[in-house]
């Protein structure tokens, strides 16, 4: 370290201590040593304090995100099960709005120009934007989203989960995964299962800032409804639909059979009634029967 270096000259104006530091070239070396040591100690203390606060904020954020997604899924499930068609339609519209506005909004804090680099050149994507030293980039995310329809979601995940899977209600086909020297965190690339008719692509990567989150970046907008709106288990839903269909069909079949039987009975009764009223038919029938009686003793 250069002993003449004044650490307060670096960019840290927000946290600059009020203490006056000797920053002129005429300052005495004997004065600088204790100031330097004291400054270093203060820095360490400040770093510890900020790091503790950072950890606490990350924990709070994880909790809030978990609660948010739990509430979101609960509401989604509740409406998909018990909601009327109007409720479902309204929720579907609100969900789209939530997806577009609120999730995108919540990513601004962590965005840091990531989506901007994705929209232009993915290979230059940097996992640790704060290492660039330019933190102002994060606020350009909204603009880039508006232009290229790129949205980023931060999804809480288990630290041990390496599958890079984000359950978002749509079905995806994975078409690649890569790691580069400048971006050592593996990222997976997905296309919507309706591709090529649906152009949406998704990239999933663990957050560089907070490994408790997966960063899912979506490019484009789906041109079809989600395959599983509740985000739950598809087979069980399909199964429940089948059961409902079976109940309806099994309830309809006996009614239809009964109707057909009734119609046939009425037709037979009408026919019998009309025949018995016809004298020719009665005579022919009597002759036939009597003839049969007369024939029997002969045989």
């Amino acid at each position: 370290l250069d002993l003449n270096t004044n650490p307060m000259e670096l960019d840290f104006s927000g946290k600059r201590p009020k203490r006056e530091e000797p920053n002129t070239a005429s300052a005495d070396m004997e004065m600088k040593w204790p100031v330097k040591a004291e400054g270093s100690s203060m820095l360490k203390e400040e770093l510890n304090r900020v790091s503790t606060e950072n950890k606490r904020l990350a924990e709070m954020l994880t909790t809030v995100c978990e609660n948010y997604y739990a509430l979101y899924n609960h509401l989604d499930e509740l409406l998909s099960r018990k909601g009327t068609e109007d409720d479902k339609r309204e929720w579907s519209m609100k969900k789209r709005k939530l997806d577009l506005d609120e999730f995108v909004g919540c990513t601004i804090g962590f965005g840091s120009g990531k989506t901007e680099s994705i929209s232009s050149d993915e290979d230059h994507h940097h996992p640790h934007p704060h290492h660039h030293g330019d933190h102002c980039e994060s606020f350009k995310v909204t603009e880039s989203i508006g232009k290229s329809k790129v949205s980023t979601f931060y999804v809480p995940t288990d630290i041990s989960d390496t599958s890079l899977t984000v359950k978002d209600g749509y079905q995806w086909r994975k078409y690649g995964q890569k790691v580069t020297r400048d971006n050592p965190s593996p990222r997976a690339y997905f296309r919507c299962s309706f591709a090529p008719s649906c152009p949406v692509k998704k990239k999933v990567q663990r957050s560089g800032e907070n490994p408790l989150f997966l960063v899912a970046t979506y490019e484009g907008t789906h041109n079809h409804p989600s395959s599983n709106p509740s985000g739950g288990d598809m087979p069980s839903q399909a199964g429940s639909n089948r059961v409902a269909l079976d109940v309806v069909q099994s309830g309809q079949r006996p009614v239809q059979d009964k109707k057909e039987t009734t119609i046939q009975e009425v037709l037979v009764q009408q026919m019998a009634s009309s025949l018995t009223k016809d004298p020719n038919f009665t005579a022919a029938l009597a002759a036939a029967i009597s003839g049969r009686f007369l024939e029997q003793p002969r045989t």
Binding site: L1, D2, T5, P7, E9, L10, D11, F12, G14, K15, S40, L43, K44, E46, L47, V50, S51, E53, N54, L57, A58, M60, L61, V64, C65, N67, Y68, L71, Y72, H74, L75, K94, L98, E102, F103, G105, C106, T107, I108, G109, F110, S112, H130, H131, H135, S138, Y154, E209, N210
Partner: protein, 39 residues
């Protein structure tokens, strides 16, 4: 100017703190908005 690792680290963690705080605020707002919809 020569770099000071401690100061750089402090700058980095502070910037991250700021982002976390902003994101937390937004998520809280989103959560409350969703809760109001449920009510």
């Amino acid at each position: 100017p020569a770099t000071c690792p401690l100061m750089e680290e402090l700058n980095r963690v502070s910037a991250e703190n700021k982002k976390l705080a902003e994101m937390l605020t937004l998520m809280c707002e989103n959560y409350n908005a969703l809760k109001n919809q449920l009510m």
